[in-house]
């Protein structure tokens, strides 16, 4: 027996009833398709809308908050930064190359549709355990897809993150963020204003690819997902490159009233959203839409997700000019309809009406307030006491294992496949500092360049243990990464990845995460200006870790003062800003060394966090620091290792003893800590700054040699009046730089070639 058509399209029975009630009749098949796409979670945000209201979205700099294709902040000098992040998880799970590639295509369109030139891409990726062959296939395909699209179109991929954790095995996360730069005077918006204005479809022809992609993104993955492969679109970066140039040209020319990309739910969502924003209606004639296949039905044309297409609203007397510009770039620009004053989205085929629905109703999906329930696992996980674990004998071995684990190891294998330099703005390339830095050519002068700093962050394990805390940490870490290069945070774009919101436990995770993020944003004074929610990240009943990814942009008044993470000069002092506590829950040490994912995530004191960041930023701007690197996964020992490798020089560390076990001391993931190095002559000034900001400050060692040696001073504390005679140094770590570097740098490449040759 055949299921009801609305259920096949992903609508619930009560939603269908509501549609019938609103329309006063049964919807046509095309109308039903339009409803199901617009009311899908992906387009309609029906489970998330009310919770997202918790985010602070305003600041003096915000020019455009959530609700448009992308958010915009003022960066001074008449220029603005545009940013947005989006997920392409489900398509990438089925068809990794095209799934990831079209994710890039989509996010780029969100940026240039606002009138901005895309200048940077970032990606936040999560896969299962890298020893799994299927995972390798997905990882390889996704990275190639991002490279294939981003490199071709000529937008540098400047930063990102990759984690490998079991829960992402069947449902990888592919979140991509794009940043654009524009003049504040050239902001374009997705509005269909002006009754009688022409509606133009521009760019690629419409085919049968990607029909109902939005709906596909709004269900769990199951054994039938493979059949949905046709719902994955195919990308054409070359056409998109032409589209970027042509669209920026028409926006600058002032010929367009409104413009929007055709993303999820294609022609349906773009036209409906534009009309709804302007409070107008629209009438389009489908026989005018350029198609690449014959015999397409209205349903197919309205729901196709063929890539590289846009909708523009243009005054009638400017149509020829627009057409001319597109023709020069070899692209179609066709009038398919006009803006009306009746508020209706009217779709015709050869003059016959096939759909007629109030645009506002389509654009405003029902809002749900689902039940939220704290999962039983939380208490159980929190009850775990890391102190019950045995203390390791050989810390060298532990450190080697940690830095070889793919989540911590160098991501060189990934970023070397991305063109991260094209457009000649990338001042800080991947792997060199805690955030990417781009100079803005339009601001500053040669020798005194103004820059932006960019980062993406989230530790899903923390969120699994405590979504509120984990999400707050994601904000704090992103902001800390910016502080390490010396940048002031401007704004956040997010990508919130969760399981099925219809399950109370999953919805609780979502709610808690948003609360955690929102509170951290308020405390640190950073607005959320755009973002994306991706629910239903479950495969065969297994949900991913709650993963609210934070993308953050910051401003650097002087790129010349950017601080990188590598130690620079023999003899420099190494200082730890911030305090170390026994924060072992959810740590990489627990997971990699003991195979445990449990405990409470690190404590987060946002006041202390804010002070540490301000101190580091001040020190960077005064030019006091040789290096700065935040302590994140793997704790202090891993942060020091990375600073050594990055700088190509060793370090001698002597840590003050505390009550903590030595493994805790080395690998605790306490938040609010930054390792800096500096010339000895600057120590007094840094100490003064630390005191001024009320930041714990400890000189822990010196840069030099070709080994990382870490000792702990046992016995009396440093200030013991009995004198140094009672001290005893215990060596915990003593490893050569070469050995460390080989393990860290080649780990992912080794995993990827493992099993290829059948030997070794």
């Amino acid at each position: 027996m055949q299921d009801a058509p609305w259920r096949e399209m992903g609508l619930k029975d009560h939603e269908y009833e509501r549609i019938v009630e609103i329309m006063g009749r049964e919807p046509t098949y095309t109308e039903l398709g339009m409803f199901s796409a617009m009311w899908s979670e992906h387009c309609g945000y029906k489970h998330s809308k009310s919770t997202l209201k918790l985010f602070p979205t305003k600041s003096e700099r915000v020019l455009q908050g959530p609700g448009e294709n992308a958010g915009i902040v003022d960066i001074g000098g008449g220029m603005a930064l545009v940013m947005k992040m989006e997920s392409h998880n489900h398509p990438s799970a089925i068809e990794p190359y095209q799934g990831a590639a079209t994710g890039i295509g989509g996010i780029l369109r969100d940026i240039f549709t606002m009138g901005a030139r895309p200048v940077a891409l970032l990606d936040s990726l999560r896969f299962g355990d890298l020893s799994n062959d299927k995972v390798k296939y997905l990882f390889d395909g996704v990275v190639s897809g991002i490279a294939g699209y981003g490199n071709c179109i000529g937008v540098p991929t400047v930063a990102g993150e990759v984690y490998f954790e079991e829960p992402y095995t069947r449902n990888p996360l592919v979140n991509v963020m794009c940043v654009g730069i524009m003049k504040t005077s050239e902001i374009a918006r997705g509005v269909a204003a002006g009754v009688g204005n022409a509606v133009m479809v521009i760019g690629s022809k419409t085919g049968r690819d990607g029909i109902h992609g939005a709906t596909f993104a709004s269900v769990e993955l199951d054994e039938r997902s493979e059949e949905r492969r046709p719902a994955v679109q195919v990308g054409d970066p070359f056409t998109e490159k032409l589209l970027v140039e042509a669209c920026l040209e028409i926006i600058r020319s002032g010929y367009v009233v409104g413009i929007q990309d055709m993303g999820a739910a294609g022609l349906t969502s773009s036209t409906v959203e534009m009309a709804a924003r302007a409070g107008t209606g629209m009438e389009i004639e489908l026989s005018l839409v350029p198609r690449r296949e014959e015999g397409m039905t209205p349903y197919e044309i309205m729901l196709s997700e063929s890539q590289e297409r846009m909708v523009a609203v243009v005054e009638p007397d400017k149509v020829d000019k627009v057409r001319e510009i597109f023709a020069r770039w070899g692209l179609d620009a066709v009038v398919v309809g006009h803006v009306t004053g009746d508020g209706l989205m009217r779709v015709k085929e050869n003059g016959k009406v096939v759909a007629e629905i109030p645009a506002k109703i389509l654009a405003e999906a029902p809002v749900y307030n689902p039940e939220a329930r704290r999962p039983a696992r939380i208490d159980e996980l929190h009850a775990f006491d890391p102190a019950t674990l045995p203390e390791p004998q050989d810390y060298d071995e532990v450190l080697m294992e940690l830095i070889s684990s793919p989540s911590i190891a160098s991501k060189e294998w990934v970023y070397e496949q991305y063109d991260y330099m094209v457009r000649t703005n990338t001042a800080i390339v991947p792997g060199v500092a805690d955030a990417a830095v781009l100079r803005v050519k339009e601001l500053g002068t040669p020798g005194h360049e103004v820059g932006i700093a960019l980062t993406v962050d989230c530790q899903g394990r923390y969120c699994y243990l405590d979504p509120y805390q984990g999400a707050a940490i994601a904000v704090a870490e992103a902001s800390r990464n910016l502080a390490c290069v010396g940048a002031e945070p401007l704004a956040i774009t997010d990508c919130l990845n969760f399981g099925n919101p219809e399950k109370p436990e999953m919805f609780w995770e979502f709610q808690e995460s948003v609360k955690g993020m929102a509170d951290a944003c308020r405390k640190l004074g950073i607005p959320v200006i755009s973002g994306n929610v991706s629910f239903y990240n479950e495969a065969e009943g297994v949900a991913i870790y709650p993963t609210p990814v934070v993308g953050m942009a910051g401003l650097l008044p002087d790129v010349g003062l950017t601080v990188t993470q590598g130690f620079k000069t023999e003899g420099d002092l190494i200082v730890l800003l911030g305090a170390t506590g026994p924060d072992m829950g959810g740590s990489d040490y627990l997971k990699v060394i003991h195979g445990v994912v449990a405990g409470r995530p690190p404590r987060l004191d946002l006041e202390a966090e804010s002070r540490v960041q301000a101190c580091c930023r001040d020190a960077a701007r005064r030019g006091l620091l040789s290096s700065a690197h935040d302590c994140a996964e793997g704790g202090l020992a891993v942060a020091l290792t990375e600073s050594c490798i990055s700088g190509g020089v060793g370090a001698h560390i002597a840590l003050r003893d505390s009550d903590m076990r030595h493994d805790f001391l080395l690998f605790s993931e306490s938040q609010g800590r930054i390792v800096v190095s500096l010339p000895e002559k600057n120590l007094g000034e840094l100490e003064g700054l630390a005191r001024h900001h009320g930041v714990p400050f400890e000189v822990i060692g010196r840069v030099g040699g070709a080994r990382l040696v870490m000792r702990v001073v046992e016995g009396a504390g440093n200030s013991d009046p009995a004198g140094p005679g009672r001290f005893q140094m215990r060596r915990l770590i003593d490893l050569g730089l070469r050995e460390l570097e080989r393990a860290w740098r080649t780990s992912i490449a080794r995993h990827m070639t493992d099993g290829e040759s059948g030997s070794i």
Binding site: S144, L242, E416, V422
Partner: protein, 254 residues
């Protein structure tokens, strides 16, 4: 773009560089910007142009011309501008092909050999080292022989191939201008990022006025981007030009 400093006097003639825009070029802005930074006058040339006279040098920039879906540069060679560029080169005009521009020059037959996919079959983006094998060309005259330059590469098809006979000829005529090397200048297999025949990173035609190179000198002419070795290529062009080395003034190799 960086504003004029106000120091440039109208009367001071500048070297004029034309940067070709193919559909899909993506280093066009970068070449334009670098040329300006180096004190040259830069102008874009649309791929449909049939005349490229009046320039002191033509740059074919990097990117993915026409998407490079067939083979890098294979379609671009048929665009109208390439006919004009070929004529320009035949008259002795300086032509610099960078990355995709190099690939196009090979496809157009202005330089010998062919490009294959990198030996690891992946796109590679990183800063590598180049040894200047011939410092007597208009593109390297500001370098010393054997000088090591740090310049970025960013390509998926940079694995240069030429048959043994052709290679002998290139070497005999000093047409190999750049080789991949380590930071000390040793030409080793480890220092070869893409598997190129004989570590070749850049070659010049026999007449000495058409250079193709995979690395991107335009990406390293400013300190803010972490390296300035690319300046040598542009400085060489300026040196050649200021010495009266226009198109006709004997670009040919000694």
């Amino acid at each position: 773009m960086s504003g004029g400093s106000g120091m440039d006097m109208k009367s001071m003639k500048k070297m004029k560089v034309g940067v070709v825009i193919f559909p899909g070029s993506n280093c066009d802005h970068d070449c334009y910007h670098a040329a300006q930074v180096m004190g040259m006058e830069a102008e874009y040339i649309w791929h449909a142009a049939r005349d490229v006279s009046g320039f002191d040098c033509i740059i074919l920039p990097g990117g993915f011309s026409y998407g490079d879906y067939l083979r890098a540069g294979a379609v671009a060679r048929f665009s109208p501008v390439m006919e004009a560029v070929t004529k320009f080169a035949e008259r002795g005009g300086l032509v610099l092909g960078i990355c995709n521009g190099f690939q196009i020059l090979l496809e157009a037959g202005l330089l010998p050999g062919a490009m294959m996919r990198n030996r690891n079959l992946k796109f590679i983006c990183k800063t590598i080292h180049l040894r200047v094998e011939n410092a007597g060309t208009p593109f390297t005259g500001a370098c010393t022989p054997g000088q090591v330059l740090a310049v970025p590469i960013a390509h998926g098809e940079g694995n240069y191939y030429i048959d043994p006979e052709g290679l002998r000829e290139l070497n005999a005529n000093k047409q190999v201008v750049f080789r991949y090397c380590d930071s000390h200048g040793a030409v080793t297999d480890e220092a070869n990022p893409n598997g190129s025949c004989d570590n070749i990173a850049g070659i010049i035609n026999r007449e000495g006025n058409v250079l193709g190179m995979m690395p991107h000198p335009e990406r390293c002419v400013e300190r803010v981007l972490g390296g300035e070795d690319g300046r040598f290529v542009f400085a060489s062009l300026l040196k050649h030009w200021s010495q009266g080395g226009g198109c006709d003034a004997g670009c040919a190799l000694a």
